[in-house]
Symmetry: C2
Subunit: 152 residues, 2 copies
């Protein structure tokens, strides 16, 4: 079976780009931190552990490239920093996020909950939906059970 990085390499080649060592290190960091929502700076610091000579600009350029090829999604939670999230393979639509306002943790929902909502938007507003961004702000389970009334 073919590895994920192999398939990404093919995607790059298909678009006439190379998988340079710097790009490979960047992709590996994204793969190893698939659960997180890393900023460019985060990625840069992690890539530096594998490839100390890498520059921040290269990380930005690589992330831009991966976004263009739809290998990652560039997301923005409103804090002024872009974050990068590996797409699920085969997923054409974006997944949803739950952001806890107590602990700041970001969880993902992979299932698509918006089928009915999109139908309403299409029929009632004549708007053809291509993609959606849905983020919930609230309190996660572990913050609720650990008693958030003790928090400041």
């Amino acid at each position: 079976m073919e590895s994920r990085i192999e398939r990404i390499k093919k995607q790059l080649h298909g678009a006439s780009y190379k998988l340079t060592p710097q790009r490979e290190a960047t992709v590996l960091v994204l793969l190893e931190n698939e659960e997180d929502h890393l900023s460019a700076e985060d990625v840069f610091l992690l890539v530096k552990e594998k490839a100390p000579e890498i520059g921040l600009a290269t990380v930005y350029r690589t992330l831009e490239l991966l976004t263009e090829l739809k290998i990652v999604d560039k997301i923005n939670f409103g804090d002024g920093v872009s974050r990068y999230d590996l797409r699920q393979e085969g997923a054409s639509r974006f997944h949803h996020h739950l952001i806890c306002i107590e602990c700041g943790k970001v969880a993902e929902i992979q299932e698509d909950l918006l089928g009915d909502v999109e139908k309403i938007v299409e029929s009632r507003y004549g708007f053809t939906v291509k993609d959606h961004w849905l983020t919930f702000h609230g309190v996660c389970q572990s913050c609720k059970s650990s008693g958030n009334e003790s928090k400041k």
Copy 2:
């Protein structure tokens, strides 16, 4: 009947802030452009027409203040610029946006379509939803009917 600006004035006073001429001009611009999603720079340029001596920093400070008081919502469509949107009076939740990828127009949906989705999130993920951000990307009605195949 009390005007909208009067009510905002009271909200400010209630939180020990004054409705200065600069703040009033800023709020008026927001009221007059309620349909749009203005950036701080946009607001600044429009306020300048009413109060030429105003500084950009004051606009930023006013918008921050209004956001804090939940009179406006600060939103981010991922282009690196914050936009500001007057809240519907009485609305506790955020409304949704439809962004057309052809013409860039942003439409709003005031009705809340996420009741069922929130119930699923609460029961299945144990997450208590306080607010949500939902944006659709797609093609609006007028772009569809004006024949988007002629576009580049």
